[in-house]
């Protein structure tokens, strides 16, 4: 056999195999168990340790590209918060186009399921331009001023009971949960809000960003963090509420396995060609 050819397999074959590996588990899940990482457990415990009825600030700072990784985290944090009768103040500062709409969609679906009311148990304040540092610093003492007095649909904040209780992050918010794909993200929230106020900060990031924030978890500045779809799946498992995170794990398993097999084949071909040369 000509082993050298293994490094020049037509990439279209790779594309088709990857596609099948991603599609098949969606119709026929394998259901592999997901082990829980320490970082995910810390996120869960940070929220679990809050007193019932606390206020959690959820900033879904995502764009459309990374949304499939991060959306399940928003559903999961909303579920955990509402189970503890916590209130959620939501924002979305990364992408004006999709962030607020995704935040609304994912929190609303959990809120409806759990009988929580918009404006009473949670609110979506939406997007504001130039969040970091200006809006973040304004939010510390005056949420109403920072968000120009309206929610994401332009409704005045004064009419919502939740905003009568929550006036500032400094005095009224107990934990900050931030999803991150870029700027603004966890770094901005840490620098301008969480660290100066001593508020616990946690959340989740796309897997590409996850490797860059480990030092903040080790230093305790982040109370754990969820990494990509895997992190979301682990979080769902801890909550015992399977969602899109766990559903995507089988596809991710087969996809990664395919790439590794192709890496091995490519290297066999490479060594065969070196030996011949």
């Amino acid at each position: 056999m000509n082993w050298q050819k293994l490094q020049w397999i037509d990439v279209r074959i790779l594309y088709v195999i990857i596609l099948l590996c991603l599609l098949i588990p969606m119709f026929k899940p394998i259901g592999l168990p997901v082990s829980i990482s320490e970082n995910t457990r810390k996120v869960f415990e940070a929220i679990e340790s809050l007193p019932d009825g606390s206020v959690i600030w959820v900033s879904h700072d995502t764009g459309p590209g990374n949304a499939p990784e991060l959306n399940p985290m928003i559903s999961a944090v909303a579920r955990q918060a509402f189970r503890k009768n916590c209130k959620i103040i939501a924002t979305s500062f990364f992408n004006e186009m999709v962030g607020p709409a995704l935040t609304q969609e994912y929190i609303e679906s959990v809120a409806k399921e759990m009988g929580k009311e918009y404006g009473v148990d949670w609110i979506n304040l939406g997007y504001r331009v130039n969040a970091s540092p200006a809006i973040l610093q304004l939010l510390i003492d005056d949420i109403n001023k920072a968000m120009s007095g309206v929610d994401w649909k332009g409704e005045p904040l004064d009419k919502f009971p939740i905003m009568k209780e929550v006036k500032s992050i400094r005095n009224d918010v107990d934990l900050i949960f931030v999803t991150t794909v870029g700027t603004p993200g966890y770094g901005d929230w840490m620098t301008y809000v969480a660290e100066p106020l001593g508020k616990p900060l946690t959340g989740g990031a796309s897997l590409t960003m996850y490797s860059g924030l480990q030092q903040y978890i080790r230093s305790g500045q982040l109370k754990g963090f969820l990494g990509g779809l895997r992190g979301a799946a682990e979080y769902e498992q801890l909550l015992k509420a399977p969602g899109k995170g766990l559903a995507g794990m089988d596809a991710q398993s087969l996809g990664h396995l395919t790439v590794i097999i192709f890496l091995i084949l490519g290297n066999i071909g490479y060594f065969a060609s070196r030996k011949k040369a």
């Binding site: 592999l32 997901v34 590209g65 809006i135 490797s211 996809g255 990664h256």
Partner: protein, 207 residues
Amino acid sequence: MKRQLPIIIVFVTALFVMVTKFFDLGTFSKTAQDELNLWITVSSVFAFLLGPINLVRLHWSNVEKKRPNWVYSAILLVVLVISTIIMFVDGVNGKVSLFIVDKIANRIDSAIYAMLGFYVCSAAYRSFKLKNTEASILLISAVILMLGQAPIGDAIIPNTSKLAEWILTVPNSAGMRGIRIGASIGAFAASIRVILGLERSWTGTGS
């Protein structure tokens, strides 16, 4: 004056921000910072105008001069005009506007990002070779992380996810700290040069 005025503004503003941030001037510090934050927000809204203006100028010129692939520029301009009109008429949170954002723009963006996954796979297959020690470390770490990030890793080799987590939290964390400290010192030095007027390329008048 055209060169000096921007530098003077930057120097005075930077000095003002530093003094109000690092010295306790009572309520004055807080009020000044809040006011500055509002200024930043307002001025950055104006900067948003530059984007569409430059975009239209560039693509209009492509269409006018019939440059290669000018059709795409024409499509962009038409879509830009239509979506802008719809957003103005329907409102940014109107039904039609949200349909455009969620069902068209969002889906296209997600699809393009998803396609990157296929390219990454093919690039990894073609380039990840055990050529030397550095490449071998990179390849082995990548394989462990790929296995560790999916449940199948633990099913094939137990505790792969723990090993992947260790790679992320220890060697990777050490490297990232070094990079961040270096980048921060660099940014600090560059800022000092701008504040002191030693770096003037941003004024458009050369360094």
